[in-house]
């Protein structure tokens, strides 16, 4: 009877989250729409699609990263990912200027490629070592973050003020200016990563037991962790290159998912995290548009409200 209850509850929670996101999506598409539907629907549809896509990517990436590193405080963002994105953006503006960026699709692929490459080099090299892995990983990640930030600040000194303003706008997550052709490309990459994750599900569960136990149970730890890191790199890079850094969201939704799901199984934790992320992003964007009339950034809304929620949760049930 206990196993029956344990098997039912995660599905209930998932269904509930599904209903919530459906409702939010409908509200998002229709609220205050007093123009022609032929314009409103595609316009809002693109925005909604990018919100959902980024939600899936960031949530999955964070849970995967935490499983691979065996630590639930780390996120890909802490490891210098966002700073690398800013450095690349700054480098582009300094190098090419704000006007001619070339084909946006090409630029998108180049940004994604650069971040995947960086992530692989760094995390693969670090996580492959067994001794003192975690602390060294943290240290190098933080140092890389500082290095990237200093480099981009240095480069920013060389910009004129108007260029700097354009650049700064790209440092905040922005869902209002996503191009449909980029969206399709990003969706394809995220879908690919999703299929990859699906095939790893059972091994991901075993990784939770730690390196030694995973090897004892016949999981090729090195190979699996590398695969997971490739997926994380693709997911984070896509979402960052698409809309800009969404630093805090991943940590928030991963922990919410761990809290509401009564099981460790990635088969339900991952969808739960993605759904929670979708609810948070779509809800946050609604608040941003309707309450603050777009006068602030989505990341500010999410980090303020989300941070409070997480603090309350942590305070209520210490573990």
């Amino acid at each position: 009877m206990h196993s029956g209850r344990a098997a039912l509850r995660p599905l209930h929670v998932l269904a509930l989250l599904g209903v919530a996101i459906l409702g939010l999506a409908v509200v998002f598409m229709t609220i205050g729409a007093n123009g022609r539907w032929g314009f409103v629907l595609p316009f809002r549809g693109t925005k909604l699609a990018s919100l959902l896509l980024v939600a899936c990517a960031v949530a999955t990436a964070t849970v995967l990263f935490q499983t691979a590193s065996g630590n639930r405080i780390l996120t890909p963002a802490i490891m210098g990912f966002d700073e690398l994105y800013r450095l690349i953006q700054t480098g582009l503006v300094v190098g090419i200027g704000t006007g001619g960026f070339g084909d946006p699709r090409l630029r998108f692929l180049a940004e994604t490629g650069a971040m995947v490459l960086f992530a692989l080099l760094l995390y693969r090299w670090l996580l492959a070592r067994t001794e003192g892995g975690l602390h060294r990983l943290l240290l190098v990640g933080v140092i890389c973050g500082v290095l990237f930030r200093s480099l981009s600040q240095f480069l920013q000194r060389m910009l004129d003020p108007s260029q700097f303003v354009v650049l700064q706008a790209s440092f905040f997550a922005n869902f209002n200016a996503v191009r449909p052709d980029l969206l399709a490309l990003a969706a394809l990459l995220v879908l690919g990563a999703g299929v990859g994750t699906w095939r790893l599900l059972a091994r991901l569960d075993v990784l939770l037991l730690g390196r030694d136990a995973a090897i004892a149970l016949g999981v090729d730890h090195r190979r699996t962790v590398t695969l997971v890191l490739v997926l994380v790199a693709v997911l984070v890079s896509v979402s960052t290159a698409l809309v800009g850094p969404v630093t805090f969201l991943g940590l928030l939704v991963a922990h919410l998912a761990y809290r509401v799901m009564p099981t460790y199984r990635h088969a339900v934790v991952l969808p739960a995290a993605a759904l929670i992320a979708a609810v948070t992003l779509v809800g946050g964007q609604l608040v941003l548009e309707r309450v603050f009339s777009l006068n602030t950034a989505l990341s500010i809304v999410i980090e303020f409200l989300g941070g409070l929620t997480l603090l309350v949760l942590l305070a209520r049930r210490p573990r």
């Binding site: 206990h2 935490q66 499983t67 065996g70 630590n71 639930r72 599900l201 059972a202 569960d205 075993v206 939770l208 037991l209 730690g210 390196r211 030694d212 136990a213 090897i215 004892a216 149970l217 016949g218 999981v219 090729d220 761990y258 099981t263 460790y264 573990r319």
Partner: protein, 252 residues
Amino acid sequence: MIETQDLTRRYGDTVVVDGVSLRLPERAFVSVIGANGAGKSSVLSMVSRLLPMSAGRALVDGLDVAATPGDVLARRLGILRQDNGVAARVTIRDLVAFGRYPHSKGRLTAADRGHIADALAFLDLEPLADRFLDEVSGGQRQRAYIAMVLAQDTDCILLDEPLNNLDMRHAAAMMGLLRRAVDERGRTIVAVLHDINFASCYSDRIVAMRDGKVVAIGSPEEIVTPEVLRAVYGIDVEVVMVKGYRTVFFYR
């Protein structure tokens, strides 16, 4: 069967395991003893493929552990290390179910459930099966890990200090259980033990190590003597017979 040939592990110029060649008997309880830093855990880790070897090789059922796919070995060799941190909240039943992963790859069959129930019963964990691992005592957690390794249903089991953190009562119970796994189920168990008296009372064979080398191997009668123990630990001890077992007094 477990065999090592000239097994060596170096860290820079420091040799921690120095050409260890062993052939361990099957269906037996084998204890590995020795002072801290003698290389016991390193030998076990290399046989378990958790630590790469600097030279030599280790064979399990004739399979070279460095060249055999992990999942093939996982159906022949169970391993338990000292430090086990789980990054998620799992129940004892979940943990034991992980032991079936080499056979089921995450999809439990009726046969798997049978093995899980059997392991839970063998370690007397049924009343605790749905408790979370972080809500039970250290001794219960240790038993849960042993149950996981037993559910893996391998002929050979390597244990690194299975008595760590157990009080007298639980340590004796644990050794009794391991002994039963050998006698009733025909398992081969190799355990690193620090308590010489447990090794003496329960082992079929004792491997004594010092400075990365095997200094003696034999039955408790052959190993638990003042001469051999002085060679292993470098201290003088007194060996007395208690209830037919060779017991070591070394406390003052």
